[in-house]
Amino acid sequence: MTTDIGLWGVPLAILGGAIRVSTPFIFVSVGEALTERSGRVNLGLEGTLVFGAMSGYAVAYQTNSAWIGLLAAAFFGMLFGLFHGWICKLPKVNDIALGIALMIFGSGLAFFFGKPYIQPVAPHLPAISLGWWSDVPQVQAALRVNVLFIAGIALAIAASWMLKNTKVGLTIRVAGDSADAARALGIDVNRVRLWSTAAGGALAGIGGAYLSLYYPGSWNEGISSGQGLMAVALVIFARWSPINCAYASLLFGGAGALGPALQSVGVTQGYYLFYAAPYVLTLGLLIATSSTTRAMTSAPGELSITK
């Protein structure tokens, strides 16, 4: 049964889309925010995300448990992060070049191991219906919220709190802002960055598992449309704040839902253009918030892209 709710469908679809599409962005960008706050950029998260999607799906299918699949994705993501962190520690390694290599390596590896899992159907991650109070099915559909979305929001808040209120958080910020100061304090900068990259990798793996285990909810080679890369851009746009990363992801997810939403209410002209909305939005925001003469005050001082 469907109720005709007319143009109200557009904002509703955008809200639903924001919640559904944003989850992987939240995980990847919060993870990358942690990595970058420690002074390193991991561009390889796109590869990590795809491998997480594959490994999560495969393990979920084999064990018949989406949760074990999720854990496996996080584990493999962490391995990718550790690999990146370990190589970057070697002299004369550029983290950006290595990230690009890992991006391609991760995707390739995932396609190689993932061939047998394109057909089978794995169990899905559970969702919570927050739309029970409404009779309108569109509202109910928009408010079917996956547990990972809630976990992602909690994660963003927890990460922000951690950066301010814990020894680990302060240590990460010191390592990311001034390696000299960190060494003077007796902090092993490479170790901090290694584990920050590992945490970022694990979170990107979870983001990938969300793709294959909930939305769209299957494994194939086109599963990621560059979410891992866009999330890295989101971190810069969010000025390295995990909470802002969550907001930026929601905005991005909402913009992504604009195209399908307009199509559903009958706007047929140029809706492909609306599919590009999130990218146009990101570009526009980056241009609007950037400046040629002003220094980015919130950027971690040790990043190779801002140095």
Binding site: K167, S178, A182, A184, T293, A295
Partner: protein
């Protein structure tokens, strides 16, 4: 504060005494420190004087455990100690304030203090930490805002915070490495006065590295002078004159004196009118109302770093677009393109030349040839004339005494003074009508400084208009014909150098007027 001390093995509660005995440090064939013995009694304020490369840093690094001396002993409070690494020095109660800031810019003062402790709890209880910090601050003779990111504090505040940090960590012997190089005269006096107070009351012993005789005579008890890695003399400050100390520092060496000032009068070459541009952060505006530099005159711009001098340099060099106003050279609007710079003979010597005026990985010859590689006698050249380049470079390297292994060495492999000389050689060659300079002598040693200043003076005498932006007030006073003070993004004060008063200039530098 108490719980900090509880964790330290044997927390010293009073000022420590320290002595080095026959300290020698060799790096391969090079002896950086030879048989140096100094004695710093508890509660004294001791100054270590010496030129760049005299071994001061090596000595304090040996004390702090960064280096293991080749031979020699270190005694703290009468007991012989072995300092294997900086941590061990900290456990003994020795601390150091570095020339560059070791604070983390994006963290607040409170966060910086707490994270520097050895026993930070996994979860920081900010309410309790704040209380402890407030109690600690109450015992201190000076205050620093605790909740602002350190990057936004003024240099003087940062340096105070560095000092506070050492005291917060319970250090009782402090090494200060040129702590006032980034401060105004009044900020320096305030900071050193505080240190003086702490030493007099017996809470602290201080060993300070310095170049400034004024600070030595005003605050220190005793002085030790190093020259080329050896102890060159020392004693009670009361018994020594500045001339004595200078003689110990420099030894038997002839300095290049600045050439005599020749009477000149020329037309206005550079004129800045109502120029406005945003500063680095974008929150403030740099506004230069009226600035004129005439031929044959050096106009010095004094000011504490971060008051808009860097932005002014960028405006003049075309790196920072103007919102309003204009820059005119020889009464023509000037946008600092390569063509215009060539036409009007405008040359630049920016600060940190290796970063701002060189291609570090290209050779010395190529770097020296940057002004001329694409033109000869007003005609554009397509092919690089290597033979002319080598000849020119060889001539200039000889003339400016640039010490380099060969013309084909990377310029980044040269020492700071030689990079500065090479860039100066490039910028002063040919006809120069306007020379814009920023901090030309930063980090260079005595003789290099004297020589570079003489070159600038010679250019002035030959009729070049010189705009000198410098954080070194002595340099401004020595070279300038007119002195301008820049504060908070505008020119706050102007005086002819002949009748300049340091006190007045200092006041405007600090922004109090």
């Amino acid at each position: 504060m108490n719980h900090v001390l509880d964790k330290t093995p044997h927390p010293p509660t009073r000022a420590l005494s320290l002595e080095t005995l026959g300290m020698t440090m060799r790096f391969g064939n090079f002896t950086a420190l030879r048989d140096v013995s100094i004695k710093v009694p508890a509660g004294s304020f001791h100054v270590l004087l010496g030129e760049n490369g005299a071994g001061k840093s090596t000595l304090v690094k040996c004390i702090m455990g960064f280096y293991q001396p080749t031979s020699g002993q270190l005694t703290v409070d009468g007991r012989e100690v072995e300092v294997a690494h900086p941590r061990a020095a900290h456990d003994l109660g020795l601390g150091m304030v570095y020339q560059h800031f070791t604070l983390v810019p994006s963290l607040t003062a409170a966060e910086n203090l707490v994270i520097s402790r050895a026993d930070v709890p996994a979860k920081i209880n900010w309410a309790r930490e704040r209380e402890a910090l407030a109690a600690f601050m109450a015992t201190m003779p000076f205050q620093v805002p605790l909740d602002v990111p350190v990057g936004r504090l003024a240099a003087g505040e940062k340096q105070k915070l560095e000092l506070l940090k050492q005291l917060y960590l319970g250090r009782k012997f402090l090494i200060l490495d040129e702590p006032t190089s980034v401060l105004t005269p009044s900020e320096s006096d305030e900071l050193l006065g505080m240190v003086r107070g702490l030493t007099t009351s017996g809470d602290l012993t201080c060993l300070m590295i310095s170049h400034k005789f004024r600070e030595v005579t005003a605050f220190a008890d005793e002085v030790s002078v190093l020259r080329r890695g050896e102890y060159a003399g020392g004693g009670k400050v009361a018994d020594l004159s500045t001339a004595d100390m200078a003689a110990m520092m420099i030894g038997e060496k002839e300095l290049v004196r600045s050439a005599k000032r020749v009477e000149t009068s020329g037309n206005v070459v550079l004129e800045v009118k109502g120029a406005k541009a945003p500063d680095r952060s974008g929150f403030k505006t740099i506004e230069i109302g009226d600035l004129k530099v005439k031929a044959g005159e050096i106009v010095g711009i004094a000011g504490i770093s971060g008051n808009g001098q860097m932005e002014l340099m960028q405006m003049l060099a075309g790196q920072r677009p103007l919102d309003e106003g204009e820059i005119r050279v020889k009464d023509t609007p000037y946008k600092a393109t390569r063509t215009e710079a060539r036409k009007f003979n405008v040359r630049y010597l920016p600060e940190e030349p290796l970063k701002n005026a060189c291609a570090p990985k290209m050779t010395v010859a190529e770097n020296i040839f940057f002004r001329d590689f694409d033109a000869r006698g007003g005609k554009n050249q397509f092919w690089l004339d290597t033979r002319r380049m080598m000849a020119e470079a060889a001539r200039l390297v000889g003339e400016y005494k640039v010490k380099t292994a060969s013309l084909a060495s990377q310029i980044a492999s040269l020492s700071g003074g030689n990079v500065q000389r090479a860039v100066l050689a490039r910028e002063l060659t040919g006809e120069v009508d306007l020379l814009v300079i920023a901090n030309p002598c930063f980090g260079l040693d005595f003789s290099a400084v004297a020589e570079i200043r003489a070159r600038i003076m010679a250019a002035r005498n030959a009729g070049t208009a010189v705009l000198l932006i410098s954080e070194d007030l002595d340099e401004i006073l020595e070279l300038s014909d007119r002195i301008l003070v820049m504060s908070e993004g505008h020119i706050a004060y102007e005086t002819p150098a002949a009748s300049a008063e340091i006190g007045e200039i200092g006041k405007y530098m600090a922004g109090h007027h």
